[in-house]
Amino acid sequence: MKATVIYQSGDHQWIIFGRDPDKKDKIVDTNQHMVMSGGKAILLDPGGIELFAPMLAAVAHHVPISNITTLFASHQDPDIISSLGLWDQVLEDASLYAPWLWEGFIRHFGCDKITYAAIPDEGMDIRIGGRTLTFVPAHYLHASGNFSVYDPVAKILMSGDVGAALLPDDAPMVVEDFDDHIQYMKAFHQRWMPSNKAKQVWVDRVRQLDVEMMSPQHGAIFKGDDVNRFLDWFEALDVGIAVS
């Protein structure tokens, strides 16, 4: 599995794991994020069962597994968190931060040892080592209980399924040509995102943040001006098309 360090300042690091060459064809490609600070690490949307072994091996390149103290699930989908039952057998004294709405559902993946820390609808801040991460509400984008993660120091927004693109296997990790990139994300957003109102609330909320990188759970990272390009594009896009 490919690991890309997208931010580093002292012991504060953001790493993306993805583009697994051994991934089965019919499984959608996912980006798993890890944020490290002060000897602690959090995995953001740690992924599905199928990716657990390569993900665990990839993480061991960067941090002792016992340093993973926290998991985060933006929502309940299997590609986000179906590996939970396996992490549950590996991690000692870890917590899973996930929407309160999905607790009874996510626990079906197996959550005996890991503590389920329910995120309230309005979001919350947590500390990882010496850094603060903010869980930003992204409800209905696409799940009815959904969060993005913002790091105000690294100025990175892990946007979950917002900004996701279904790319060819050899696609670069960073969006190089925004206009060309639209073809890989338009249908996804039109179909997966159900609510124009929810979309607008999220766009307004994100515009208040200082974001230099927006990193989705599928596809490529938006950097610099492409973050605003994405917000403008998304704002103008009519979503929830399956009902029309």
Binding site: I49, L56, A57, A60, H62, G85, L86, Q89, V90, G110
Partner: protein
């Protein structure tokens, strides 16, 4: 249903529930014995001194019915425990398999912190072994309960023979009715023995495969 399971690929969680489902018939037989016992009690009361020898037989039938129903309930509980521990075993085995795969990947790719995987793989293996022991222990308990039913039914068969002899000695007005009770007891006992023995054989074979 249990007979069709490929023992080379035995999944105890499926096997246990299939045994429990199969034994629903045994419970029905227990209830049938209970009804026959009530019937026999009425006959004994009506026959009075003419059927004094049959009274202990009806008492035995009441006890037999109660024991059969209680054992089937215990079997259902134990089968659920086997199924529960077997699913837990599936999970621990799967986790061990995945962790060992990660261990190999980390080793091959020279991961800096690969030793941090080794520690918990060892502890996961211990958990897996313990979970497997739980499956085997509960399966063994299940087998013992089934054997208890077989023994009970063998006793029932012996008693039904005595009942037949006893009914032949009873006044002709009641003899036929008592004969019928004895035959039904023998029939129930035979049906239960056959059903339980089939399931016992499947479980014993699965257990021996698993222990290997």
């Amino acid at each position: 249903m249990a007979k069709k399971i490929d023992l080379g690929k035995t999944k105890f969680h499926l096997l246990a529930v299939s045994v429990a489902a199969d034994l629903a018939l045994v419970k029905k037989q227990g209830e049938a014995i209970s009804l026959e016992a009530m019937n026999a009690k009425v006959l004994v009361a009506r026959a009075g001194v003419l059927a004094l020898g049959f009274r202990p037989i009806t008492d035995f039938m009441v006890q037999l019915a109660a024991s059969t129903i209680r054992l089937v309930q215990e079997i259902e509980k134990e089968a659920l425990a086997v199924s529960h521990h077997s699913v837990a075993r599936l999970r621990t085995s799967n986790a061990v398999q995945m962790a060992e795969k990660a261990q190999a990947l980390a080793k091959d790719s020279g991961a800096r912190h690969r030793a941090s995987i080794d520690g918990f793989v060892a502890s996961m293996l211990e958990t897996d072994i313990q979970t497997n022991e739980n499956v085997l222990n509960h399966t063994q308990k299940l087998i013992l309960l089934l054997e208890e039913i077989v023994e009970l039914m063998m006793a029932a068969s012996a008693v039904s023979s005595s009942a037949r002899v006893e009914s032949a000695a009873i006044d002709v007005r009641f003899s036929q009715s008592f004969q019928s009770v004895s035959n039904k007891l023998e029939q129930c006992s035979g049906t239960v023995r056959e059903k339980v023995k089939t399931n016992l054989a499947v479980l014993e074979k699965a257990l021996s495969v698993q222990r290997r």
